[in-house]
């Protein structure tokens, strides 16, 4: 990721002939998936001129490299603009903590159950008379002080810890997770997930050469992924593939690196900016149906 490089310096360094523009609307990727031909045959660099909605008042857009998975050599294709209200928010650790705790607990069901006294065998009989025997006095065999007796205030039945975190906090959690990853150089932007081979060693060696970390989260805009990508990620431990709607704070922080496609980035920015800049009249979700 670069902070202080300007477009003019890059244009001077590389001798370009033309610039290709990408718009926010989804378009087919420019590269063909032929393994024989050089995947980077178009003119470089590709400055992805993304028009950002709701431009930020104070901060200009951030910039990041655009990379490929089509070849092993680490050649940068161009630069991507990023919206600062998503990728340059304050690193609020308390919001990240709240999001993670919510994700862990709201699906949790505690199945621990200790039967109460009325679910035990008969409680009427005295084990031995009150007096006469040298033993302690007891009224029933299943009192709590006995071994095998009932427990008084133990856990009772399946308990649920369901609650829904407010939408604003979840949005802010996503934005802070993305900023934290970006500013620690753990986010990489890729044109698409088209790999030349289905061998998982190709992707493993590629990521090792580029120091992309043991665990990587690949995010594309749709559920349907290319066959080579699916095969490679299924065979390696630590590589997970997700669509955009599966993105969440827990997974972002569990995996060391994030790899996004341009299409996924467009979709994420569109949804998050729309949510950040709109007013929701319906604060809470409707309750589940109460009928059996």
């Amino acid at each position: 990721m670069i902070k202080s490089l300007s477009l003019v310096k890059i244009l001077r360094q590389c001798s370009i002939r033309s610039i290709r523009h990408f718009e926010t609307s989804t378009q087919p990727p420019p590269f063909s998936s032929d393994p024989t031909s050089n995947p980077i045959s178009q003119q470089l660099p590709l400055i992805v001129n993304r028009q950002l909605e709701y431009p930020h008042v104070r901060y200009p857009p951030l910039q990041a490299w655009l990379e490929t998975l089509g070849q092993k050599r680490d050649e940068k294709l161009g630069i991507v603009d990023l919206h600062p209200s998503i990728w340059q928010t304050s690193p609020r650790l308390d919001i990240l903590y709240e999001n993670i705790e919510w994700q862990k607990t709201y699906k949790k069901i505690d199945w621990a159950y200790t039967p109460p006294h009325h679910e035990y065998p008969s409680m009427r009989g005295k084990p031995w008379p009150q007096k006469g025997t040298g033993r302690a006095r007891h009224s029933s065999r299943y009192d709590p002080q006995w071994k095998g007796g009932y427990k008084v205030n133990g856990p009772k039945g399946p308990t649920s810890f369901f609650y829904v975190l407010p939408k604003e906090k979840r949005i802010e959690g996503l934005c802070t997770a993305l900023t934290v990853k970006l500013h620690q150089n753990d986010v990489h932007f890729v044109d698409s997930f088209d790999l030349p081979t289905h061998q998982p060693t190709y992707l493993q060696e590629l990521t090792e050469d580029r120091f992309w970390g043991p665990s990587i989260l690949f995010i594309d805009d749709t559920d349907i992924m290319p066959h080579n990508m699916m095969f490679a990620s299924a065979k390696t431990e630590g590589f997970t593939v997700m669509p955009v709607y599966g993105l969440n704070v827990y997974s972002i922080l569990k995996h060391t690196t994030l790899v996004l496609t341009i299409r996924a980035l467009n979709k994420i920015e569109k949804k998050l900016l729309h949510a950040l800049n709109s007013y929701d009249t319906q604060k809470d979700q409707p309750a589940p149906p109460d009928e059996p």
Binding site: K104, I109, Q285, P288, P292
Partner: protein
């Protein structure tokens, strides 16, 4: 001459050192010459099979396995409300819950009353013991919450009915 005993010692935690007077014979110090012990002096015996004393094993090691599919994709669709379909509600994403606890939270009595509402008719006809356990527990909790545990009157707040107006003053003695 007093020296420590060099015969086979029992394993004990006591710091007692036994010193015995001995004499030298055939180059070695001997204690209780001519004594033939009648107790077992071999090594450890096998576990007696006629006694009900099974060995206590350590619990089996459960490998956490952080990168199974389930663990790697944990929390996958929790933000689908924002990033995808807006009509998805989070109680629909809870799969491992009993059907009367999907999207519900409360204390124990509320859990039981909800279970009765959803499953009371079925239990009454098909599982009468479970039904009776449920209703006895509900009755016990209602009694305990409403009649047991003496309530300190200087800690009880003044309650107002639904149609009554609120008082103008605040009595600090009430709380």
């Amino acid at each position: 001459m007093f020296i420590q005993s060099c015969l086979p010692k029992t394993i004990s935690n006591s710091h007692l050192i036994i010193s015995v007077r001995t004499f030298k014979r055939f180059g070695e110090y001997v204690k209780s010459y001519g004594y033939q012990p009648k107790h077992y002096q071999g090594g450890y015996l096998p576990r007696a099979s006629h006694l009900k004393d099974p060995p206590d094993y350590l619990p089996p090691f459960i490998d956490p396995k952080d990168w199974t599919l389930e663990a790697a994709t944990f929390g996958q669709n929790d933000y689908i409300d924002i990033l995808g379909d807006e009509n998805v509600e989070h109680w629909q994403l809870v799969r491992n819950a009993p059907f009367w606890l999907r999207g519900f939270q409360g204390n124990e009595l509320q859990h039981l009353l909800r279970r009765l509402k959803f499953q009371g008719k079925y239990l009454e006809e098909n599982q009468p013991q479970r039904y009776s356990d449920l209703i006895t527990r509900i009755r016990f909790l209602m009694f305990k919450i409403n009649f047991k545990h003496y309530k300190r009157p200087w800690l009880m707040r003044p309650t107002v009915g639904p149609n009554e107006p609120l008082p103008d003053y605040y009595d600090p003695r009430s709380s």
